[in-house]
């Protein structure tokens, strides 16, 4: 692994900033596109992006309004639904916790969210599920260790790569700041093992089935980036380092061919976080923005904005000095 951070010229496109700010709704939240109803995920990404913007932007009012939207829409069990009209906790709980952690003043809400995450197990992998799967399942369909559990998109279903990665990042960001986290250490190790188990042959991750019917799955850029960033906490382990190195190699080979801005931005962000030097990504993102305006999507605007700034603290891997 390369030790030096290669400095890139900061190529920022103010249109992304303006696009993000213009998309904020009167209720303080963001929809997936400008003019859409506010939802938890785009609000979280927008907050995470504008929290990293330099001092040239004074965005305290926008941050307060966004955080207040998240605070108002937390469910009584500590979780967040994907959209305010729903009442079921979901994968976006991790993102809401991450966004609020960065703003300060929301510790009780973050604590409640993290507690919910710690309690929320997927439906697969428990004793009865494993027994039923062993007796009636088709083991040849997918080759993965179902006992290794992470987090799912919706409660009570299967573990998948991205929600597991988001949960690990949220729990890691809170490490040391809340009392209960030592008790979820085992859960985090299990999730880390699940991610390593689900890696595609040759590195990288798809959504979570590396082999189906004996055919190797193809990795996807966004899943790979989030898995890598979440494994940054476990770099003291040799098997994790092997997964990370193999997957970073795959990412380095693949990401510049990405035709989509979301994947391109996340790829650059991830390589930068792991001190691999991506080519300057700003111009390529600007060109894609010219083409389709990122389909107007707030999460993509936020990822592009994060990709051209310094790597946020919550994404920095703990790379041992010897690597």
């Amino acid at each position: 692994m390369r030790a030096e951070i290669v400095q890139q010229p900061a190529v920022k496109d103010e249109r992304w900033t303006h696009g993000l700010l213009a998309a904020q709704n009167l209720d303080g939240g963001w929809g997936y596109r400008e003019g859409q109803d506010s939802a938890i995920e785009p609000t979280s990404w927008a907050l995470l992006a504008i929290s990293e913007m330099g001092r040239e932007h004074s965005l305290d009012r926008e941050k307060r309004a966004g955080a207040s939207f998240l605070g108002r829409n937390q469910l009584s069990n500590g979780s967040w639904p994907t959209v305010p009209k729903d009442r079921a906790g979901s994968w976006v709980t991790s993102l809401a916790c991450l966004a609020l952690q960065g703003l300060g003043g929301w510790a009780p809400q973050v604590d409640a969210g993290l507690h919910w995450l710690a309690r929320n197990w997927p439906g697969e992998g428990g004793f009865w599920w494993c027994l039923r799967h062993r007796l009636f399942g088709q083991p040849q369909l997918v080759v993965q260790d179902h006992r290794l559990r992470g987090w799912g998109w919706t409660s009570g279903t299967s573990s998948w790569v991205e929600p597991t990665a988001y949960a690990l990042l949220a729990l890691r960001a809170a490490r040391g700041s809340t009392s209960f986290l030592a008790r979820v250490d085992h859960r985090c190790r299990l999730a880390q093992a699940m991610l390593c188990n689900r890696m595609c042959a040759g590195g990288g991750w798809n959504c979570g089935n590396p082999v189906v019917y004996g055919a190797a799955g193809h990795p996807l850029l966004s899943s790979t980036c989030w898995a890598l960033l979440s494994l940054g906490e476990f770099m003291d382990q040799a098997d994790v380092r092997r997964c990370v190195t193999e997957s970073l190699d795959w990412l380095e080979r693949s990401y510049s061919q990405s035709p989509g801005p979301g994947s391109l931005a996340l790829g650059a962000l991830c390589l930068k976080a792991f001190r691999r030097a991506p080519p300057t990504v700003g111009p390529a993102l600007s060109e894609l923005y010219e083409r389709n305006r990122f389909l107007g999507q707030v999460p993509v605007l936020a990822w592009a904005s994060l990709a051209v700034q310094s790597v946020p603290r919550w994404l920095r891997p703990a790379i041992p000095a010897s690597t």
């Binding site: 929809g31 997936y32 596109r33 859409q36 109803d37 939802a39 995920e41 785009p42 994907t82 959209v83 009209k85 729903d86 979901s90 994968w91 439906g123 088709q138 369909l141 799912g152 998109w153 919706t154 009570g156 279903t157 299967s158 998948w160 991205e162 929600p163 798809n206 959504c207 189906v212 019917y213 055919a215 799955g217 193809h218 996807l220 850029l221 966004s222 899943s223 990405s258 035709p259 989509g260 801005p261 979301g262 994947s263 894609l288 083409r291 389709n292 305006r293 990122f294 389909l295 107007g296 999507q297 999460p299 993509v300």
Partner: protein, 316 residues
């Protein structure tokens, strides 16, 4: 925001009139597909004047050869044909099931070159505004789903799948294609809630609630073997179309050399949603026998095969 949507009728099969399905040859994606689709729309006499149409293709991954995706030339041709038929607006909407980077898929398949600017022409159903909808049937454990406003608001929903095998469901055609309307931001990538609740049962519940008004299956180059993403291309040179998606899918299965009654979700759909029996499907254009070519299946779905015997279609 108030969203209204037309509730499809659910009738037992003995109360349903016969369905018609058009099988049209199209040797390649360079053929005049808009003319073929226009002629077929005229046959079906759909009332499209001033209506809003949502085309739902099957865009699965960044595959420039479009073996796994509905080819953009079919999408563009359908759009042109529906506009020619009097539709006020025609929007393409899809929510890819596996890949979060929808724009990456659209760029990889060059959709913009076929449709022009995507602004207003394409909606990512994975991140659309959503509305809670109670499902009309209770085959699966899912009672309610959040569904995209763009789908619920459309006067006419057209399913544009690829002619493919599917390693969980046997085949993926116009009914299975409707999984793509389920928003990823609510249910994830993949839309695991539906798998967890049972794929076949979920297909029935979803289509009983938002049934496509028309189906156009891209069988010009389909996929056989380990579909929907890792199979082999299969050139069938066909477009299969109709206003009863169950009858369209049953016809496609027969073309693929399969017995539709053995495909669990088709069998369920044949009870409540549309016609499955050959006796109740009138073939327009080519006959099944003249275009049939067996598709390779993964071992677990070999039982769907019609044992090599292809029956002649019977007109009603």
């Amino acid at each position: 925001m108030k969203v209204s949507y037309a509730v499809p009728s659910i009738k037992p099969s003995f109360q349903r009139p016969p369905s018609r399905v058009a099988i049209q040859r199209a040797a390649s994606y360079e053929a005049n597909l808009a003319a073929i689709i226009s002629e077929t729309l005229a046959e079906f006499r759909l009332d499209l004047k001033g209506r809003s149409v949502l085309l739902k293709p099957n865009f699965v991954g960044a595959d420039p050869q479009c073996v796994m995706n509905t080819h953009p030339s079919v999408v563009a041709a359908a759009r042109e044909a529906f506009l020619r038929a009097g539709a006020a607006t025609v929007v393409v909407g899809e929510g890819p099931a596996l890949e979060r980077d929808t724009e990456g898929i659209l760029e990889a398949i060059h959709l913009r070159e076929y449709l022009g600017s995507l602004d207003g022409a394409f909606v990512d159903l994975n991140v659309d505004n959503v509305w809670p909808v109670a499902l009309r049937t209770r085959a699966s454990s899912v009672k309610r789903l959040y569904l995209p406003a763009s789908v619920l608001r459309a006067d006419c929903v057209v399913s544009l799948p690829k002619l493919k095998t599917h390693h969980w469901a046997g085949v993926t055609l116009s009914l299975k294609n409707m999984f793509g309307i389920v928003p990823g931001h609510c249910y994830g990538w993949p839309k695991n809630l539906l798998h967890w609740a049972g794929i076949s049962k979920s297909i029935l519940d979803l289509n009983s609630t938002v049934r496509p008004d028309f189906a156009i299956v891209d069988g010009i180059v389909g996929m056989e073997g380990n579909g929907p993403t890792q199979g082999q291309p299969k050139a069938a040179g066909l477009l299969v179309m109709g206003d009863d998606p169950v009858a369209v899918d049953a016809t496609c299965a027969r073309i693929m050399g399969l017995i539709p009654e053995r495909v669990e979700y088709l069998r369920r759909a044949g009870i409540l949603l549309g016609n499955l029996s050959e006796k109740k499907i009138e073939q327009i254009g080519e006959s099944i026998a003249s275009v049939s070519q067996p598709f390779a299946m993964v071992r677990e779905f070999e039982f769907l095969r019609a044992n090599g015997r292809i029956t002649e279609p019977r007109s009603v």
